[in-house]
């Protein structure tokens, strides 16, 4: 990948496309590249929806190669939700295609002079941007159908739904999957609103005629990839648990631990959890049958296949298999124990282009305010539909849990840096609370997800009984995650590399043989640290202070049942996360 495609949406005479060499950004991919471009090129104090913000879409370092699991794509910008730097990533087909086209990043810059909506097409020989107002206020499903009619189903689409066009802070960017459905989303932080502010509705990526990217050392690469796939397949999590049940396998376990946020984080356990668990979901999907039911990949080259396809009671396609966070956000967090209703909300979120975590959290806050009753599935569905219609209530909800809490006067609003917390109560698992509080991204479970401590020689040596142990663990997890986010690798690889040193070595060999250089664990740590440092500096210049690295006050005061715990990590301990 040797070029960056810049599209200046505010150029005189209409959008201008410029392809330039990757230059000083060489060697970067995924989050490493998006965050570096944002940190270097975007004024930290700019308005997130203004002309000075940029939207960067970057495949991972290995995307487009034959490396298994390398199809994640990163989206970066200054976030309209948090006001800080943002990286959100997704699966789908675009990452591999952009990689094969040799494009390290698409950068949308400037701002169109009027409300014209554009369609951007990228192929081997041509980059084309044209006005297409016929796409206005279409959902992602309708947009992809139109693109299929025009381009066939061998291309991939990157698009926004109504939420992105309305520039709502909970808007996502959709990436089409292997079946050309807009089901994979860069969800967090309102990246879809930034795409909407640039006036781009859809990007069609066509890699026809492009070859798979070649490694510098093909024999070593092939061998490493073989070991890599074998390692993933033999591990209990990546080879069995995730393919069988999907990410929703966590529901029963987190609930049992008393860390399952229930009814807007009021309790740590949900009575109806087994009705929406991954086990029940997989059984339901398998029983209903249909192609790709309970085990399916989100992109070509995925060997874990933790996704699936959710058909309704009559056997009609409804949505992809809802993820753990989605099932929680629209399920337990709203007191809803109906899988079909949750799947319907997942479908609506994907169609309108909404972050399912933010949307579920906003509805739960609204339920606490009395807008609807906890447990009322139909009311929750109707609230999601309000967003699609663009009603005032829908715009409030689509702007996130923080705004919803302010509008309705709710104190219990589970956000950090205005981004809603995911499906783990920080009082139950305090180390995750440290990550929620201190990550550059706002409350985000994936920011400290790469469980690689023993392999990287970090994190596993701390005293288990000291509070600062939680801080050191979170720090090292955040470093490792930032590095993995740059490779284009799915974060679910982490378990296999945690337990199997030979699998971690295979990953290093994959990266090393692809670029023709030997990589060590120290190199990975160094990359992670440099990304976090850059992101942190951007946020500081954007006005973030250490006082924003905190959980909402009520987590320190309200005891979480059933274990009656509060968040115990002190502010001064939290302030140590970035001291390395």
């Amino acid at each position: 990948m040797d070029k960056i495609l810049r599209i200046n949406m505010g150029a005189a005479g209409g959008p201008q496309v410029k392809s330039e060499p990757i230059g000083s950004y060489a060697g970067l991919g995924g989050r490493g590249l998006t965050s570096t471009i944002i940190a270097k090129e975007v004024p930290p104090l700019c308005h997130p929806l203004g002309e000075d913000n940029k939207l960067v879409i970057a495949p991972g370092l290995l995307s487009g190669s034959a490396a298994a699991m390398s199809g994640r794509i990163s989206v970066g910008c200054k976030s309209p939700l948090t006001g800080g730097i943002k990286e959100a990533n997704a699966g789908g087909m675009a990452s591999q295609m952009l990689g094969r086209l040799g494009i390290a990043a698409i950068v949308l810059e400037g701002k169109p002079k009027d409300g014209t909506l554009y369609k951007l097409s990228i192929s081997k020989d041509k980059v084309d941007i044209k006005p297409d107002n016929s796409l206005k206020m279409l959902g992602n499903y309708a947009v992809t159908e139109k693109m299929k009619a025009a381009h066939g189903d061998k291309v991939s689409c990157i698009s926004i739904g109504q939420a992105g066009e309305m520039k709502l802070a909970g808007a996502s960017i959709a990436f089409t999957d292997m079946e050309f459905r807009p089901t994979r989303h860069a969800g967090r932080g309102g990246v879809g609103a930034v795409m909407g502010s640039k006036g781009v509705k859809v990007i069609v990526v066509d890699d026809t005629g492009c070859a798979v990217r070649s490694p510098k050392e093909p024999d070593k690469f092939k061998e490493a990839n073989k070991s890599w796939v074998a390692g993933l397949r033999k591990h209990a999590v990546t080879g069995q648990g995730l393919p069988t049940y999907g990410t929703n396998v966590l529901t029963n376990v987190i609930n049992e631990a008393g860390a399952y946020p229930t009814k807007n984080f009021m309790w740590g356990r949900f009575d109806g959890c087994s009705k929406i668990s991954g086990e029940t979901q997989a059984e339901t999907e398998n029983a209903r049958g249909g192609e790709g039911s309970a085990t399916h990949g989100c992109h070509r080259g995925c060997v874990i296949r933790c996704s699936g396809t959710y058909y309704d009671k009559d056997g009609h396609y409804l949505t992809k298999q809802p993820e753990y966070e989605t099932v929680w956000a629209h399920g337990g967090n709203c007191g809803i124990d109906d899988l079909d209703a949750i799947a319907m909300m997942d479908r609506l979120d994907d169609d309108f282009g909404l972050d399912t975590i933010e949307m579920g959290a906003a509805i739960a806050v609204a339920m606490e305010a009395g807008v609807a009753k906890f447990g009322d599935a139909q009311a929750a569905i109707n609230l999601v539909k309000e967003v699609g219609k663009g009603t005032p209530l829908g715009r409030i909800l689509g702007s996130g849990a923080g705004l919803t809490g302010k509008v309705f006067g709710v104190e219990r609003v589970p956000v950090v840096k205005n981004q809603a917390m995911p499906a783990y109560d920080p009082r139950g698992v305090q180390g995750i609370g440290v990550t929620y509080a201190t990550t550059t991204q706002g409350a985000d479970h994936t920011a400290g997800y790469a469980v690689t401590a023993n392999i990287l020689g970090v994190g596993g040596k701390v005293d288990a009984l000291k509070p600062e142990g939680q801080v050191e663990l979170s720090r090292n997890l955040q470093i490792a995650t930032a590095a993995i986010d740059s490779t284009g690798m799915c974060l679910f690889i982490a378990f296999a590399i945690l337990d199997q040193p030979e699998t971690f070595q295979a990953l290093l060999d994959l990266l090393g043989s692809f670029g023709g250089q030997k990589l060590t664990g120290d190199d990975v740590v160094g990359l992670g640290k440099s990304i976090l440092k850059m992101e942190r500096e951007f946020n500081t210049k954007a006005g973030f202070t250490k006082e924003m690295d905190r959980l909402p006050d009520y987590f320190k005061k309200e005891k979480l049942a059933p274990h009656n715990v509060t968040f115990k990590v002190t502010d001064s301990e939290l302030d140590q996360v970035y001291n390395w």
């Binding site: 966590l250 009082r427 997890l477």
Partner: protein
């Protein structure tokens, strides 16, 4: 990979305990298609009750009391909860009357790593860890609720279901109510306390209050 039979060899006295319970609770025996047994596995995530001699550690209770192979418990079961608290030392934690034990295979993500017994991230679950020192060991039989999750349910569940598990009648009714039309096609026969009943009429016959002893038979074994 360990077979179901190897992973879970239910001890002889299990049948006696089941019989004891069966004297006081209705015994529902369902014969279903071989593939139909998996439809009941999510039910085991809600929990079922077993009765065993007291005075046991979690490890003893599960291995000697429930017949789970020690190496299966050590290697396959990666997270164990006692009363909702993650356990690192199964030999030290004591089971008492009314306890709930939950078993899970390895889980993804940070939370999965954190909740793992004795894992590199055990420090991160200290707020919800089970503390063992000073626990007294009760005498006499104890009733314990067991929850089986994910792959553990797939591998141990059929064995427990074949022997019979005690489940709340209301939970069972609710479970049947939620099933799609296709569910009823897996039924081959049903009886309550030995009296044949129509499979589709089972939900209406189950008592809502109290426990039901649910046992599953596979239609191929039945015919064989």
């Amino acid at each position: 990979m360990m077979t179901i039979g190897e992973a879970c060899r239910l001890p002889d006295f299990f049948s006696r305990v089941v019989s004891m319970d069966a004297e006081r609770t209705p015994r529902l025996t369902l014969t279903v298609t071989p593939g139909g047994i998996s439809r009941f596995l999510p039910l085991l995530g809600q929990g079922f009750t077993v009765k065993r001699p007291a005075g046991a550690s979690v490890e003893e209770f599960l291995c000697r009391g429930c017949g789970i192979a020690p190496d299966y418990l050590r290697d396959r079961v990666q997270t164990v909860f006692l009363n909702g608290k993650a356990i690192d030392d199964l030999a030290a934690a004591v089971v008492s009357d009314g306890s709930t034990i939950a078993l899970s295979a390895a889980m993804p993500g940070l939370a999965g790593a954190v909740l793992r017994k004795g894992g590199a991230y055990a420090a991160m679950h200290r707020q919800i860890s089970h503390a063992s020192p000073g626990e007294s060991r009760a005498s006499g039989p104890v009733r314990v609720s067991i929850k089986l999750f994910n792959l553990v349910a797939s591998e141990l569940g059929p064995g427990f279901l074949a022997q019979g598990v005690l489940i709340g009648g209301a939970d069972l009714q609710d479970y049947f109510r939620r099933q799609d039309r296709g569910f009823w096609k897996i039924g081959r026969a049903a009886d309550i306390d030995g009296r044949p009943v129509d499979f589709e009429k089972v939900p209406g016959i189950i008592p809502e209050n109290g426990l039901v002893l649910l046992a599953l038979r596979s239609a191929d074994l039945q015919s064989g």
